[in-house]
Protein backbone atom coordinates (compact mmCIF):
# COMPACT_ATOMS: atom_id res chain seq x y z
CA UNK A 1 0.00 0.00 0.00
CA UNK A 2 2.62 2.50 1.04
CA UNK A 3 5.98 2.30 -0.54
CA UNK A 4 8.26 4.23 1.74
CA UNK A 5 11.60 5.25 0.37
CA UNK A 6 14.15 4.30 2.93
CA UNK A 7 16.79 6.96 3.09
CA UNK A 8 19.72 6.64 5.45
CA UNK A 9 18.35 9.50 7.58
CA UNK A 10 14.98 7.80 8.05
CA UNK A 11 16.68 4.53 8.91
CA UNK A 12 18.88 6.05 11.58
CA UNK A 13 15.97 7.99 13.08
CA UNK A 14 13.94 4.78 13.33
CA UNK A 15 16.90 3.04 14.93
CA UNK A 16 17.24 5.87 17.43
CA UNK A 17 13.57 5.54 18.34
CA UNK A 18 13.92 1.80 18.96
CA UNK A 19 16.97 2.33 21.16
CA UNK A 20 15.24 5.11 23.09
CA UNK A 21 12.12 3.03 23.78
CA UNK A 22 14.18 -0.05 24.72
CA UNK A 23 16.17 2.00 27.22
CA UNK A 24 12.98 3.50 28.68
CA UNK A 25 11.30 0.09 29.04
CA UNK A 26 14.39 -1.43 30.64
CA UNK A 27 14.92 1.44 33.07
CA UNK A 28 11.25 1.53 34.10
CA UNK A 29 11.25 -2.24 34.65
CA UNK A 30 14.38 -1.98 36.80
CA UNK A 31 12.78 0.83 38.83
CA UNK A 32 9.68 -1.35 39.33
CA UNK A 33 11.81 -4.27 40.49
CA UNK A 34 13.79 -2.07 42.90
CA UNK A 35 10.52 -0.77 44.34
CA UNK A 36 9.32 -4.37 44.64
CA UNK A 37 12.45 -5.26 46.62
CA UNK A 38 12.14 -2.19 48.85
CA UNK A 39 8.50 -2.79 49.77
CA UNK A 40 8.97 -6.51 50.36
CA UNK A 41 9.34 -6.17 54.12
CA UNK A 42 6.74 -3.48 54.64
CA UNK A 43 3.46 -4.47 56.28
CA UNK A 44 0.69 -5.42 53.87
CA UNK A 45 -1.99 -2.73 53.87
CA UNK A 46 0.28 0.01 55.19
CA UNK A 47 0.12 3.40 53.54
CA UNK A 48 3.66 3.38 52.15
CA UNK A 49 3.07 -0.03 50.56
CA UNK A 50 -0.13 1.23 48.94
CA UNK A 51 1.76 4.30 47.72
CA UNK A 52 4.45 2.15 46.11
CA UNK A 53 1.83 -0.09 44.53
CA UNK A 54 0.16 3.01 43.07
CA UNK A 55 3.47 4.25 41.65
CA UNK A 56 4.13 0.79 40.16
CA UNK A 57 0.72 0.86 38.44
CA UNK A 58 1.50 4.29 36.96
CA UNK A 59 4.88 3.01 35.72
CA UNK A 60 3.10 -0.03 34.24
CA UNK A 61 0.76 2.26 32.29
CA UNK A 62 3.76 4.28 31.08
CA UNK A 63 5.36 1.08 29.78
CA UNK A 64 2.11 0.11 28.08
CA UNK A 65 2.01 3.54 26.42
CA UNK A 66 5.54 3.19 25.03
CA UNK A 67 4.89 -0.31 23.70
CA UNK A 68 1.64 0.68 21.98
CA UNK A 69 2.75 4.06 20.68
CA UNK A 70 6.22 3.13 19.44
CA UNK A 71 6.60 -0.65 19.08
CA UNK A 72 3.06 -1.11 17.76
CA UNK A 73 3.46 2.12 15.83
CA UNK A 74 0.09 3.56 16.87
CA UNK A 75 1.71 6.91 17.69
CA UNK A 76 2.59 7.32 14.00
CA UNK A 77 -0.88 6.53 12.63
CA UNK A 78 -3.39 9.25 11.85
CA UNK A 79 -5.82 10.71 14.37
CA UNK A 80 -8.76 8.61 13.16
CA UNK A 81 -6.82 5.36 13.62
CA UNK A 82 -5.68 6.37 17.11
CA UNK A 83 -9.25 7.13 18.17
CA UNK A 84 -10.51 3.93 16.58
CA UNK A 85 -8.25 1.91 18.86
CA UNK A 86 -8.20 3.97 22.04
CA UNK A 87 -11.89 4.94 22.38
CA UNK A 88 -13.26 1.35 22.68
CA UNK A 89 -10.67 0.63 25.38
CA UNK A 90 -12.03 3.49 27.51
CA UNK A 91 -14.61 0.95 28.72
CA UNK A 92 -11.84 -0.29 31.03
CA UNK A 93 -12.25 2.85 33.16
CA UNK A 94 -15.79 1.77 34.05
CA UNK A 95 -14.83 -1.90 34.12
CA UNK A 96 -12.05 -1.52 36.69
CA UNK A 97 -13.82 0.95 38.98
CA UNK A 98 -17.13 -0.94 39.01
CA UNK A 99 -15.72 -4.39 39.61
CA UNK A 100 -13.14 -3.47 42.22
CA UNK A 101 -15.82 -1.53 44.09
CA UNK A 102 -18.06 -4.58 43.83
CA UNK A 103 -15.37 -6.85 45.28
CA UNK A 104 -14.73 -4.42 48.10
CA UNK A 105 -18.42 -4.14 48.94
CA UNK A 106 -18.68 -7.95 49.02
CA UNK A 107 -15.87 -8.06 51.56
CA UNK A 108 -17.58 -5.40 53.70
CA UNK A 109 -20.94 -7.17 53.55
CA UNK A 110 -19.44 -10.49 54.54
CA UNK A 111 -17.55 -9.00 57.45
CA UNK A 112 -20.84 -7.49 58.66
CA UNK A 113 -23.30 -10.32 58.05
CA UNK A 114 -21.21 -13.48 57.82
CA UNK A 115 -19.32 -13.98 61.09
CA UNK A 116 -18.14 -17.42 59.96
CA UNK A 117 -16.05 -15.96 57.17
CA UNK A 118 -14.56 -13.41 59.56
CA UNK A 119 -13.56 -16.18 61.91
CA UNK A 120 -12.00 -18.11 59.02
CA UNK A 121 -10.14 -15.00 57.97
CA UNK A 122 -8.65 -14.55 61.40
CA UNK A 123 -7.72 -18.17 61.99
CA UNK A 124 -3.93 -18.48 61.88
CA UNK A 125 -2.79 -21.91 60.78
CA UNK A 126 0.45 -23.62 61.69
CA UNK A 127 2.81 -23.31 58.72
CA UNK A 128 3.14 -27.10 58.22
CA UNK A 129 -0.39 -27.95 57.18
CA UNK A 130 -1.60 -24.98 55.32
CA UNK A 131 -4.06 -26.86 53.14
CA UNK A 132 -5.92 -28.70 55.84
CA UNK A 133 -8.41 -26.64 57.69
CA UNK A 134 -9.42 -27.93 61.06
CA UNK A 135 -13.13 -28.02 60.28
CA UNK A 136 -14.41 -30.00 63.28
CA UNK A 137 -12.58 -27.91 65.79
CA UNK A 138 -13.95 -24.88 64.06
CA UNK A 139 -17.59 -25.99 64.23
CA UNK A 140 -17.26 -26.74 67.93
CA UNK A 141 -15.95 -23.25 68.43
CA UNK A 142 -18.89 -21.71 66.69
CA UNK A 143 -21.52 -23.34 68.94
Amino acid sequence: MENIEYSEAKRSSLKKEVIKVTVILTVVTIIELIMGFIMMDWAEGSFKRHLFKGIIIILMLAKAYYIVAHFMHLGHENKIMKRLIVVPLLIFIWFIIAFLADGHSYLELRSKYDPYSVEMNEKVLPAEHGQHQDAEHHEAEQE
Binding site: V18, M81, L125
Partner: protein
Protein backbone atom coordinates in the same frame (compact mmCIF):
# COMPACT_ATOMS: atom_id res chain seq x y z
CA UNK B 1 -3.82 9.62 -4.11
CA UNK B 2 -6.41 11.17 -6.42
CA UNK B 3 -7.03 14.90 -6.27
CA UNK B 4 -10.60 14.53 -5.01
CA UNK B 5 -9.39 13.27 -1.64
CA UNK B 6 -7.53 16.52 -1.01
CA UNK B 7 -9.45 19.70 -0.22
CA UNK B 8 -8.59 23.09 -1.70
CA UNK B 9 -6.56 24.00 1.36
CA UNK B 10 -4.41 20.91 0.83
CA UNK B 11 -5.87 18.98 3.74
CA UNK B 12 -6.66 15.30 3.16
CA UNK B 13 -10.41 14.58 3.32
CA UNK B 14 -10.29 11.29 5.24
CA UNK B 15 -14.06 10.76 5.13
CA UNK B 16 -14.45 11.86 1.51
CA UNK B 17 -14.34 8.34 0.12
CA UNK B 18 -11.75 6.63 -2.11
CA UNK B 19 -9.26 6.22 0.75
CA UNK B 20 -9.35 4.35 4.04
CA UNK B 21 -10.11 6.89 6.81
CA UNK B 22 -7.74 5.12 9.17
CA UNK B 23 -5.05 5.06 6.46
CA UNK B 24 -4.15 1.50 7.45
CA UNK B 25 -4.05 -1.58 5.28
CA UNK B 26 -7.14 -3.79 5.74
CA UNK B 27 -5.43 -6.80 7.32
CA UNK B 28 -3.53 -4.61 9.75
CA UNK B 29 -6.74 -2.87 10.81
CA UNK B 30 -8.39 -6.24 11.38
CA UNK B 31 -5.39 -7.36 13.44
CA UNK B 32 -5.88 -4.26 15.60
CA UNK B 33 -9.56 -5.09 16.05
CA UNK B 34 -8.66 -8.63 17.04
CA UNK B 35 -6.19 -7.24 19.54
CA UNK B 36 -8.89 -5.01 21.04
CA UNK B 37 -11.09 -8.06 21.62
CA UNK B 38 -8.13 -9.95 23.04
CA UNK B 39 -7.34 -7.02 25.32
CA UNK B 40 -10.91 -7.19 26.61
CA UNK B 41 -10.51 -10.92 27.31
CA UNK B 42 -7.28 -10.41 29.23
CA UNK B 43 -8.79 -7.35 30.91
CA UNK B 44 -11.76 -9.42 32.06
CA UNK B 45 -9.42 -12.06 33.50
CA UNK B 46 -7.26 -9.54 35.32
CA UNK B 47 -10.19 -7.49 36.61
CA UNK B 48 -11.84 -10.66 37.86
CA UNK B 49 -8.61 -11.42 39.70
CA UNK B 50 -8.63 -7.89 41.13
CA UNK B 51 -12.28 -8.24 42.20
CA UNK B 52 -11.47 -11.46 44.04
CA UNK B 53 -8.52 -9.86 45.75
CA UNK B 54 -10.65 -6.90 46.83
CA UNK B 55 -13.28 -9.34 48.14
CA UNK B 56 -10.74 -11.38 50.13
CA UNK B 57 -9.38 -10.25 53.47
CA UNK B 58 -5.91 -11.71 53.01
CA UNK B 59 -3.82 -13.05 50.16
CA UNK B 60 -0.56 -15.02 49.71
CA UNK B 61 2.60 -12.92 49.44
CA UNK B 62 3.98 -13.32 45.89
CA UNK B 63 7.51 -12.74 47.21
CA UNK B 64 7.20 -15.87 49.34
CA UNK B 65 5.46 -17.98 46.68
CA UNK B 66 7.60 -17.14 43.65
CA UNK B 67 11.03 -17.13 45.23
CA UNK B 68 12.89 -19.95 43.51
CA UNK B 69 15.48 -19.72 40.75
CA UNK B 70 16.37 -22.94 38.92
CA UNK B 71 19.89 -24.09 39.71
CA UNK B 72 20.17 -21.92 42.81
CA UNK B 73 19.58 -22.85 46.43
CA UNK B 74 17.78 -20.44 48.71
CA UNK B 75 15.13 -17.80 48.22
CA UNK B 76 15.45 -15.14 45.56
CA UNK B 77 12.12 -13.37 45.18
CA UNK B 78 11.51 -11.44 41.92
CA UNK B 79 14.76 -12.62 40.32
CA UNK B 80 13.38 -15.35 38.06
CA UNK B 81 10.41 -13.31 36.89
CA UNK B 82 12.67 -10.35 36.07
CA UNK B 83 14.74 -12.64 33.84
CA UNK B 84 11.53 -13.69 32.06
CA UNK B 85 10.45 -10.07 31.68
CA UNK B 86 13.75 -9.04 30.13
CA UNK B 87 13.68 -11.99 27.73
CA UNK B 88 10.29 -10.82 26.50
CA UNK B 89 11.36 -7.16 26.19
CA UNK B 90 14.42 -8.17 24.17
CA UNK B 91 12.36 -10.41 21.87
CA UNK B 92 9.96 -7.49 21.37
CA UNK B 93 12.88 -5.29 20.31
CA UNK B 94 14.15 -7.85 17.80
CA UNK B 95 10.60 -8.05 16.42
CA UNK B 96 10.57 -4.27 15.86
CA UNK B 97 13.88 -4.60 14.06
CA UNK B 98 12.42 -7.39 11.89
CA UNK B 99 9.43 -5.19 10.99
CA UNK B 100 11.70 -2.26 10.11
CA UNK B 101 13.96 -4.51 8.05
CA UNK B 102 10.84 -5.72 6.23
CA UNK B 103 9.86 -2.15 5.44
CA UNK B 104 13.14 -1.61 3.62
CA UNK B 105 12.85 -5.07 1.97
CA UNK B 106 16.03 -6.30 3.65
CA UNK B 107 15.43 -10.06 3.60
CA UNK B 108 18.60 -11.05 5.45
CA UNK B 109 17.93 -8.73 8.40
CA UNK B 110 14.31 -9.93 8.58
CA UNK B 111 15.45 -13.55 8.82
CA UNK B 112 18.07 -12.83 11.51
CA UNK B 113 15.70 -10.80 13.67
CA UNK B 114 12.82 -13.24 13.28
CA UNK B 115 15.07 -16.12 14.37
CA UNK B 116 16.15 -14.09 17.42
CA UNK B 117 12.50 -13.31 18.23
CA UNK B 118 11.55 -16.98 17.99
CA UNK B 119 14.46 -17.95 20.26
CA UNK B 120 13.38 -15.30 22.79
CA UNK B 121 9.81 -16.57 22.71
CA UNK B 122 10.92 -20.18 23.19
CA UNK B 123 13.11 -19.14 26.11
CA UNK B 124 10.18 -17.35 27.71
CA UNK B 125 7.81 -20.31 27.31
CA UNK B 126 10.56 -22.61 28.63
CA UNK B 127 11.01 -20.40 31.71
CA UNK B 128 7.28 -20.43 32.30
CA UNK B 129 7.16 -24.22 31.95
CA UNK B 130 9.96 -24.55 34.53
CA UNK B 131 8.11 -22.27 36.91
CA UNK B 132 4.88 -24.26 36.51
CA UNK B 133 6.73 -27.52 37.14
CA UNK B 134 8.33 -26.05 40.25
CA UNK B 135 4.98 -24.82 41.59
CA UNK B 136 3.37 -28.15 40.80
CA UNK B 137 6.05 -29.90 42.83
CA UNK B 138 5.27 -27.56 45.71
CA UNK B 139 1.68 -28.81 45.57
CA UNK B 140 0.12 -25.88 43.74
CA UNK B 141 -2.29 -26.53 40.88
CA UNK B 142 -5.82 -25.60 39.85
CA UNK B 143 -7.95 -26.14 42.96
CA UNK B 144 -4.96 -26.73 45.25
CA UNK B 145 -3.17 -24.01 47.15
CA UNK B 146 -0.43 -24.99 49.62
CA UNK B 147 0.58 -21.38 50.31
CA UNK B 148 -0.61 -19.44 53.36
CA UNK B 149 -1.79 -15.86 53.33
CA UNK B 150 0.69 -13.22 54.42
CA UNK B 151 -0.96 -13.05 57.85
CA UNK B 152 -0.69 -16.83 58.35
CA UNK B 153 -4.33 -17.68 57.64
CA UNK B 154 -5.39 -20.34 55.14
CA UNK B 155 -5.56 -19.08 51.56
CA UNK B 156 -8.30 -20.10 49.15
CA UNK B 157 -7.41 -21.87 45.88
CA UNK B 158 -8.47 -18.64 44.13
CA UNK B 159 -4.82 -17.62 44.21
CA UNK B 160 -3.52 -20.64 42.27
CA UNK B 161 -6.60 -20.79 40.02
CA UNK B 162 -6.07 -17.23 38.84
CA UNK B 163 -2.32 -17.60 38.58
CA UNK B 164 -2.40 -20.74 36.42
CA UNK B 165 -5.34 -19.59 34.31
CA UNK B 166 -3.97 -16.16 33.47
CA UNK B 167 -0.29 -17.07 33.03
CA UNK B 168 -1.45 -20.16 31.12
CA UNK B 169 -3.58 -18.06 28.80
CA UNK B 170 -0.67 -15.70 28.30
CA UNK B 171 1.71 -18.61 27.70
CA UNK B 172 -0.74 -19.94 25.12
CA UNK B 173 -0.59 -16.55 23.37
CA UNK B 174 3.22 -16.62 23.41
CA UNK B 175 3.18 -20.13 21.91
CA UNK B 176 0.78 -18.98 19.20
CA UNK B 177 3.01 -15.99 18.55
CA UNK B 178 6.03 -18.27 18.15
CA UNK B 179 4.06 -20.39 15.68
CA UNK B 180 3.06 -17.30 13.69
CA UNK B 181 6.67 -16.09 13.69
CA UNK B 182 7.89 -19.49 12.47
CA UNK B 183 5.37 -19.33 9.61
CA UNK B 184 6.58 -15.79 8.81
CA UNK B 185 10.17 -17.06 8.81
CA UNK B 186 9.33 -19.90 6.41
CA UNK B 187 7.45 -17.49 4.13
CA UNK B 188 10.39 -15.07 4.17
CA UNK B 189 12.88 -17.84 3.38
CA UNK B 190 10.65 -19.04 0.53
CA UNK B 191 10.69 -15.53 -0.90
CA UNK B 192 6.91 -15.06 -0.67
CA UNK B 193 7.26 -11.47 0.51
CA UNK B 194 9.93 -10.66 -2.08
CA UNK B 195 7.51 -11.74 -4.81
CA UNK B 196 4.82 -9.51 -3.27
CA UNK B 197 7.39 -6.71 -2.82
CA UNK B 198 5.82 -6.13 0.60
CA UNK B 199 6.59 -7.42 4.07
CA UNK B 200 3.25 -6.27 5.51
CA UNK B 201 2.57 -9.73 6.94
CA UNK B 202 5.59 -9.30 9.21
CA UNK B 203 4.06 -6.07 10.53
CA UNK B 204 0.83 -7.90 11.42
CA UNK B 205 2.74 -10.69 13.15
CA UNK B 206 4.73 -7.98 14.91
CA UNK B 207 1.55 -6.33 16.21
CA UNK B 208 0.50 -9.65 17.73
CA UNK B 209 3.91 -10.23 19.27
CA UNK B 210 4.02 -6.76 20.83
CA UNK B 211 0.54 -7.30 22.21
CA UNK B 212 1.78 -10.45 23.94
CA UNK B 213 4.61 -8.41 25.44
CA UNK B 214 2.10 -5.72 26.46
CA UNK B 215 -0.08 -8.26 28.25
CA UNK B 216 2.96 -9.58 30.10
CA UNK B 217 3.61 -6.06 31.44
CA UNK B 218 0.19 -6.22 33.10
CA UNK B 219 0.36 -9.87 34.20
CA UNK B 220 3.84 -9.37 35.65
CA UNK B 221 2.76 -6.30 37.62
CA UNK B 222 -0.52 -7.79 38.88
CA UNK B 223 0.84 -11.16 39.99
CA UNK B 224 4.41 -10.60 41.04
CA UNK B 225 4.71 -6.98 42.13
CA UNK B 226 1.46 -5.92 43.76
Amino acid sequence: MSTSTVSNSGKIKWWGGRISPANVEYGKLMMWFFLISDALTFGAFLISYGTTRFATASWPDPNKVFNAVPGLEGHYPLVYVSIMTFILIVSSVTMVLAVQAGQRLDKKAVVINLVLTIIGGLMFVGCQALEWIHLHHEGAWWGRNPFLNYDGTAASPNFTNYFFTITGFHGFHVSTGILINIIMLIMTLCGTFDKRKSYLMIEKAGLYWHFVDLVWVFVFTCFYLI
